[in-house]
């Protein structure tokens, strides 16, 4: 079985290295085919491993040593268990789909080969992240996906905003990574190792305060990667990247790494419920916070990005409340429908010549029916309508919030679900139905290549049916993760499900009705609340004014004033003083003998005085 592990892990790397050779050359379809093939191989291997794991296997390999210093001995170790294999399958599946999809999407791009290099590199990093058996291995993947995200956001580097967004993503992630790094250091000095098994075996015997600190620090890292408040701004800006990237990295896989981290370290987090509570609260906050921004945005991709954020909040709620398998389940279903949504958006963008403003679209259903259907499936799945995938995972999260007695969290999530329904169908209505605004603006949209649509089909199917695997899934992953017991009555549960579903469906119907009638009036757009939401609560602006600009000013000050004016000036002053002294005392050397005689006598007097008054210490 080990060879499947290595194949799954290294096939994407091989693909990346292969297409790396072509990066400097003209577009070459071979790179896309080879990388897609290798990703499929990786997917198949992962699937094979999943079946093997299902039969009770847990693979744990140590490939080779990496770092050893002092008491630290850190090998490259990989583990395939019930949790990581789920992630592997999800990641390789979505990435294979995205890779095939990109063959159509990137068809006319001049950096075609480079794109596939990056995608394969990303998958490799992501697999390291999920498969590592220790925290530093996870950190390698963690930073690796960060790098690929940076490269892919800034893929069209000639666009100023793209490279800026890339920098923002990388740097913000770094800020959070620092927290995670500190967590790792604390782990090391507590346990003397980074390996999951050993840490989780001993975590019970360690002071709770330290476990809390570790948990919080790790969660800071997770916040950065999963773009939780206050690190959320990068995710919306990351939409500068090509759309398949947004689908793969910024919806399905990388941003969920934070959730994965919490799930992976569930043995640690379950010891400190207070931290879990913080996580859940923050998750609930972000769920509504992000959804509220999605309500008014006009940018097609940013709406989906905020939706992603909001869904990540849901996952954190589940993970924070100890319902780890539910979080993982939502992570998986979300990966399917959200990437589908993004890829559909990619089709629209292509059709609309990269126009993103949804107010300029409308009535596209006629031109691109298949895309519309797929996106509609994804949207209902996102909203959580029976029998689509989101229904099962999202309801389980709501139920777990209610079950834990955290009613305010439950209520927040409930509101969030309504918002989700609204913005999803606002998008669908504005893009696919209503007036054909695009005609006035001179766009000529068209449906995309058939093979692209075929590639989306698996995601569409999975978004529809994945929910029915809830119980097998639970059984599968709770072999490793803690079980989550619902203590409330079954009738309450059913009642809740009905309540939520009804609410969601009412919102959907109301939205459809409202937009079919022509939408909201323009006056609404001048309301302060609207402006607040539209400007993303002014947070990017605040960051700009409070962090970026002062930092730059301070840096300039440090250089121009402190470094040049003070430190270097002092150094030069010493040198100049010596030089000036020489220059001045040169005048003593006037050549006049009587002056010299006088100096000589001065010297004699000084020496005599020294001889008399100086008493050596010894």
């Amino acid at each position: 079985m080990e060879k499947y592990l290595y194949v799954a892990l290294f096939a994407p790397l091989a693909g990346a290295l292969f297409s790396l050779l072509f990066t400097a050359q003209k577009k070459n379809v071979i790179t896309a085919l080879v990388t897609s093939g290798l990703l499929l191989i990786s997917f198949v291997s992962s699937l094979t491993l999943m079946f093997a794991v299902h039969d009770g296997l847990t693979l744990h390999v140590k490939m080779m040593g990496w770092i050893s210093a002092g008491n630290l001995s850190l090998p490259y170790g990989f583990i395939v268990d019930n949790v990581s294999v789920v992630m592997m399958v999800t990641v390789t599946l979505v990435s294979a789909v995205v890779n095939i999809y990109s063959m159509g999407y990137m068809m006319h791009d001049k950096s075609y080969n480079r794109f596939f290099t990056y995608i394969s590199m990303f998958v490799f990093s992501m697999l390291i992240l999920v498969m590592s058996d220790n925290f530093v291995g996870l950190f390698i993947g963690w930073e690796g996906v960060g790098l690929c995200s940076y490269l892919l956001i800034g893929f069209w580097y000639e666009k100023e905003s793209a490279s800026w967004a890339g920098n923002e993503a990388f740097i913000m992630n770094r800020v959070a990574d620092l927290g995670m790094l500190m967590g790792l250091f604390l782990i090391y000095w507590q346990f003397g190792t980074f390996s999951y098994d050993e840490i989780f075996a001993h975590v019970g015997s360690v002071n709770t305060g330290i476990v809390t600190t570790i948990g919080l620090l790790l969660f800071v890292g997770a916040m950065g990667k999963s773009a939780q408040f206050p690190f959320h701004t990068w995710l919306a800006d990351a939409m500068e990247g090509p759309t398949p990237v947004s689908a793969l990295i910024h919806a399905a896989t990388m941003v969920t790494a934070g959730v994965y981290l919490v799930i992976r370290a569930s043995d640690l987090f379950s010891l400190v419920p207070e931290v879990g509570h913080i996580i859940a609260t923050l998750g609930a906050f972000v769920a509504v916070f992000a959804a509220s921004m999605a309500l008014v945005h006009r940018d097609l991709k940013k709406i989906i990005a905020y939706s992603t954020l909001s869904q990540l909040g849901y996952m954190f709620v589940a993970a924070g409340l100890g319902a780890y398998w539910i979080a993982l389940f939502h992570l998986m279903t979300h990966a399917f429908f959200k990437s589908l949504l993004f890829l559909g958006a990619g089709n629209i963008m292509h059709a609309m010549d990269d126009e993103l403003d949804i107010k300029k679209m409308g009535g596209l259903f006629k031109v691109m029916p298949y895309t519309a259907i797929l996106m509609a499936i994804a949207s209902v799945a996102l909203c959580g309508v029976y029998p689509f995938a989101g229904f099962f995972s999202k309801d389980a999260i709501l139920a777990s919030a209610f079950n834990g007695g955290n009613f305010y969290i439950w209520f927040t999530l409930f509101i969030g679900a309504g918002m989700t329904a609204f913005y999803s169908f606002r998008l669908i209505m504005l893009v696919f139905f209503g007036d054909k605004v695009y005609k006035k603006l001179g766009f000529h949209p068209h449906e995309t290549y058939p093979f692209v649509l075929w590639a989306l089909l698996p995601l569409g199917i999975l978004s529809t049916i994945a929910g029915f695997f809830e119980h097998p899934f639970e059984e599968f992953v709770t072999k490793v993760l803690d079980k989550y017991e619902f203590s409330m009555a079954h009738s309450t549960e059913i009642g809740l499900i009905f309540l939520t579903s009804a609410f969601v469906i009412i919102v959907i119907v109301a939205t459809i009705y409202k937009y079919a009638k022509g939408g909201f009036s323009k006056q609404l757009e001048t309301m302060p609340l609207y402006l607040l939401l539209k400007n993303q609560y002014y947070i990017p602006k605040i960051y700009e004014e409070v962090i970026f600009k002062p930092y730059y000013a301070l840096s300039k000050f440090a250089w121009k004033q402190i470094d040049v004016r003070i430190i270097d000036f002092t150094v030069d002053l010493i040198a100049k003083t010596l030089y000036k002294t020489g220059q001045e005392s040169r005048k003593m050397q006037s050549g006049n003998l009587s002056d010299m005689l006088r100096w000589m006598v001065v010297g004699i007097v000084v020496l005599l005085a020294l001889a008399i008054f100086y008493r050596p210490m010894m």
Binding site: R586, Q589, S590, G591, N592, L593, S594, L597, R598, V601
Partner: protein, 100 residues
């Protein structure tokens, strides 16, 4: 009773007289005179110490100082004459060639 202190004070007075001369004289010949005073002042001191400590070494030093003074005069006066012939003056301020 005249003690060593008396002699040393005398020596000091003479020495400072010599130094005054060295410092204020601009005429080279007069400068030479002043150096003679300095040497003699020291000689008095040496001999006095020699006497009061019953040690002859002081006298030898004085003796050698005298011989040095004699050589100094011989060479110095020669140079002085030479310089006078060159420049027509023996003023100290005329010797400014060492100006840095």
């Amino acid at each position: 009773m005249i003690t060593l202190t008396h002699y040393l004070i005398l020596s000091g007075i003479l020495f400072s007289l010599g130094i005054i001369g060295v410092l204020r004289r601009k005429n080279l010949l007069m400068l030479f005179f002043s150096t003679e005073i300095l040497l003699n002042a020291v000689n008095v001191g040496f001999v006095a110490v020699s006497k009061y400590y019953g040690d002859l070494s002081g006298q030898f030093f004085a003796l050698f100082i005298i011989s040095i003074a004699a050589s100094e005069v011989a060479v110095g006066l020669g140079l002085l004459v030479l310089w006078y012939k060159r420049s027509g003056t023996i003023d100290l301020d005329s010797l400014q060639m060492m100006k840095g």
